[in-house]
């Protein structure tokens, strides 16, 4: 049985679920941020850092970052396997994606860690 080794969970069904659960987390976070920025037009640094210093919001943000990393990988893997047929090109493309994805995650975690 041929199995893909680059799909996130090595199971199409699991990838499918990851994409949807992460989507719901990301959607709720995006909605919250749009609302927050909309209703705090004259936002100050104290307010902004205060939001991220709370434990609950920190957990929410870390969950969002985790969801983002999973969502990016499943989405980009799907697109790469659909459109990039030569293995070498796909490997390079997905390697760049993985590097960017991991960097985003580290930058995001670092940003909220010390606040």
């Amino acid at each position: 049985m041929v199995r893909s080794i680059t799909s996130m969970s090595r199971s199409g069904l699991m990838d499918w679920l990851v994409q949807r659960v992460s989507a719901v987390v990301l959607a709720s976070y995006a909605l919250f941020m749009f609302g927050y920025l909309l209703f705090n037009a004259d936002l100050t640094y104290e307010q902004w850092s205060g939001l991220f210093s709370g434990l609950v919001f920190k957990i929410y943000t870390l969950a969002m970052l985790l969801a983002l990393a999973g969502h990016i990988w499943v989405g980009m893997w799907t697109i790469a396997t659909d459109y990039l047929k030569p293995t070498g090109i796909r490997f390079v493309f997905l390697s760049v994606i993985a590097l960017a994805n991991f960097s985003y995650f580290v930058i995001g975690v670092t940003a909220v860690w010390g606040v």
Binding site: M76, Y104, G108
Partner: protein, 133 residues
């Protein structure tokens, strides 16, 4: 079948060219490929968002810097672009979840949902533009 063979007298069981390149993409397919394109665009956009997040939380100076950058028309344009991709990807994503649940899968309701996604996104993108400027 736009290319009826003139040489039917020779052989009538030859493969028929249906002119695949001339088929128009159905609106649901356009909605789907746009979802993918905005997804790839958002991958790049997240780089900007991560910069804004980390710089704005770093210090008062960083926060001011992000706010300053966002007063420039080009930065506003980029921000509007990113927000637009999020709006579309969000709404098309909800359509995706609804389709997972078995809705909008028929020949009648599918294109309808795709049109709805485009209409709602257009309104959202316009509103976000008004908000940014």
């Amino acid at each position: 079948m736009h290319k009826k063979k003139e040489i039917t007298a020779v052989k009538n069981n030859r493969p028929v060219d249906n002119g695949l390149a001339t088929f128009r993409m159905p609106i649901a397919a356009i909605a789907s490929i746009t979802h993918r394109i905005t997804g790839v665009a958002l991958l790049v956009a997240v780089g900007f968002l991560m910069w804004a997040l980390s710089t704005s939380l770093e210090s008062q100076a960083g926060f001011d810097q992000v706010q300053n950058v966002l007063t420039h028309w080009f930065a506003k344009f980029i921000a509007w672009g990113i927000a637009s991709f999020i709006v579309y990807h969000f709404i098309a994503g909800i359509k995706h979840l609804l389709m997972d649940a078995g809705y909008f899968e028929t020949k009648e309701t599918g294109p309808l949902a795709a049109k709805g996604v485009f209409a709602l996104s257009a309104v959202g993108i316009l509103l976000v533009g008004v908000w940014i400027w």
